[in-house]
């Protein structure tokens, strides 16, 4: 049973550049959420995708955008990178049920470590 997979595992970018992170959900899951985890902090919600639409968004600027594909995989794009974007980016998948996935435990990937210099 394939779990959540993320790529790449590590990435180094320069301030001002753009980055794309990728995620394949756990087999059978249809909803993907993205979280940012800064050092010493808990994961912070960026946004959630279901049926290729952004369903909810956390307190992140428009520089953060995403996409979900028909096979449920997802991408997170960050434009105009800032030093403060350096963090672990976690993708999580879950099941959509009765209009939400909020009472469905999230299954996380191992994350992508992004360093902005």
């Amino acid at each position: 049973d394939a779990g959540v997979t993320q790529s790449p595992t590590h990435l180094i970018k320069t301030r001002g550049q753009q980055v794309t992170l990728r995620c394949s959900p756990k087999s059978g899951h249809d909803t993907v959420s993205w979280y940012q985890q800064a050092l010493g902090q808990g994961p912070q919600f960026i946004f959630q995708y279901y049926e290729e639409e952004e369903r909810q968004r956390g307190n992140f600027p428009d520089r953060f955008s995403g996409h979900q594909f028909p096979n449920y995989s997802s991408e997170l794009n960050v434009n105009a990178l800032l030093l403060g974007d350096s963090a672990l980016y976690l993708c999580a998948s879950s099941l959509w049920f009765r209009g939400s996935s909020y009472n469905s435990p999230l299954h996380f990937g191992n994350g992508t470590r992004l360093t902005v210099t």
Partner: protein, 110 residues
């Protein structure tokens, strides 16, 4: 504005004893609570959850207690094992995405 607070950054326990990790929340709309465990270089792993209609949920060595009036939940691990050493995150949701606390690092010594 932290809606989920884990006020103890770290906890050290001896093998075989009880570990108690605490979590407080401020949003009365939260109705689903979870605990996740995270090892270095891995993503968080779901451990146990509790709905607001219950005050206790048990799964093997892990028990979560919910006190809605105090907006407090706790995770009990009995007996603690060295392999339990990890960062534990409390998370909560209502009609919104999961909100996580900052985590508590548990160290279990043999």
């Amino acid at each position: 504005d932290q809606q989920v607070k884990q006020n103890s950054p770290s906890l050290s326990v001896q093998e075989g004893r009880i570990s108690i990790l605490n979590c407080d929340y401020t949003n009365s709309m939260f109705d689903y609570f979870l605990w996740y465990k995270k090892y270095p270089a891995e993503g968080p792993t779901f451990l146990i959850s509790i709905s607001s209609i219950k005050d206790k949920n048990e799964d093997g060595r892990f028990t979560v207690f919910l006190n809605k009036s105090a907006k407090h939940l706790s995770l009990h691990i009995v007996p603690s094992q060295p392999g339990d050493s990890a960062v534990y995150f409390c998370a909560a949701s209502g009609e919104s995405a999961l909100i996580f606390g900052k985590g508590t690092t548990l160290s279990v010594s043999s």
